[in-house]
């Protein structure tokens, strides 16, 4: 249960003596949700672990600059998404390789991941999602699995609500086609 509002957490954090306590509250509140968001992008547990830690370190380093224009959760989600995208960019095998290509290669991770515990249907569904362009995939995950509102997703990804709705609709159609063909 969250004892503190976003504003109270920010005030606590700015007090040097209470900073660690405030930050621990933030980690307790959001670490699981942020981890799963990253995990759905990167698939691999090890990679997700690294990126989650980097995300929270960035949150710690930049929290005093947080202006409170959005919710803390939205702000952390944005950092996590950017960190995941940066991670995938660094995985490019060569300069001109597209990040969508890197993302679709994660299907191989899915096959060998010891921390995947779905059945064949779920595996096929995840593979279908991995065929989507990266940003469309992220938006789909946030809407379908995290049940986020389009306005929240729009704040995080910087895409308009209309574009997101269209993207989600197209993503569903592509996934259906993939599942039927496979």
């Amino acid at each position: 249960m969250n004892k503190y509002t976003d504003k109270e957490l920010l005030i606590l954090f700015k007090d040097y003596k209470k900073r660690n306590y405030a930050f621990n509250c933030i980690v307790n509140l959001y670490q699981e949700r942020i981890y799963w968001h990253i995990r759905k992008i990167l698939i691999s547990h090890e990679d997700s672990n690294d990126v989650t830690q980097n995300t929270f370190i960035k949150v710690f380093e930049n929290f005093t600059k947080f202006k409170g224009e959005s919710k803390i959760y939205t702000w952390i989600y944005k950092i996590a998404t950017n960190e995941s995208l940066s991670f995938l960019k660094r995985k490019k095998r060569y300069f001109f390789e597209s990040i969508d290509n890197v993302s679709s290669n994660l299907i191989n991770n899915l096959e060998s991941d010891q921390y995947f515990d779905g059945d064949e249907a779920e595996k096929k569904f995840q593979k279908a999602i991995l065929t989507l362009p990266l940003k469309q995939r992220i938006a789909f995950n946030m809407r379908y699995f995290d049940k986020m509102k389009y306005e929240q997703i729009s704040n995080i990804l910087g895409t308009s609500v209309g574009a997101l709705k269209a993207n989600y609709h197209h993503a569903k159609i592509k996934i259906e086609i993939f599942l039927k063909e496979n």
């Binding site: 660690n20 980690v27 759905k40 991941d113 921390y115 515990d117």
Partner: protein, 131 residues
């Protein structure tokens, strides 16, 4: 109806798992990283080993550069200049006009006879002086 709801929940389940106790470890790892960051902040953070080494190297470079600017001539150059000066002096001595040379001789060391002294004082052609 209830079965349909359950099916929907299963359909939206993320089919990944994590090692046992993972989130506890994750929290501890994050906290240990950020506590290190905290201890490096503030005035004490200035004196990290990196900044000390960097400051030392910059100081050494600055001292060497300053010394070079103040004393541009090296020992080698000084020797060269001294040698050149000696050569000039030798050249001057060899080619010195006798008249000038005699002028600068200490008077006590060279005493002319009265006749020669007379000739000198009256600017007589020195060839006339019989040695």
């Amino acid at each position: 109806m209830k079965q349909n709801t359950e099916k929907q929940e299963v359909g939206k389940r993320v089919p990944f798992n994590v090692p046992d106790g993972y989130f506890f470890d994750l929290k501890n790892n994050i906290q240990s990283h950020t506590e290190n960051l905290s201890s490096r902040e503030g005035f004490g953070g200035i004196f990290t080993s990196k900044t000390i080494v960097l400051t030392f190297v910059c100081t050494v470079i600055a001292v060497i550069s300053f010394n070079y600017i103040l004393n541009p001539n090296s020992n080698i150059e000084n020797d060269f200049i001294n040698e050149a000066n000696e050569e000039v002096i030798l050249f001057e001595i060899e080619n010195i006009n006798e008249e000038i040379f005699l002028e600068f001789l200490p008077q006590d060391e060279y005493v002319f006879s009265d006749d020669i002294q007379y000739l000198i004082e009256n600017n007589t052609d020195y060839n006339m002086i019989i040695e």
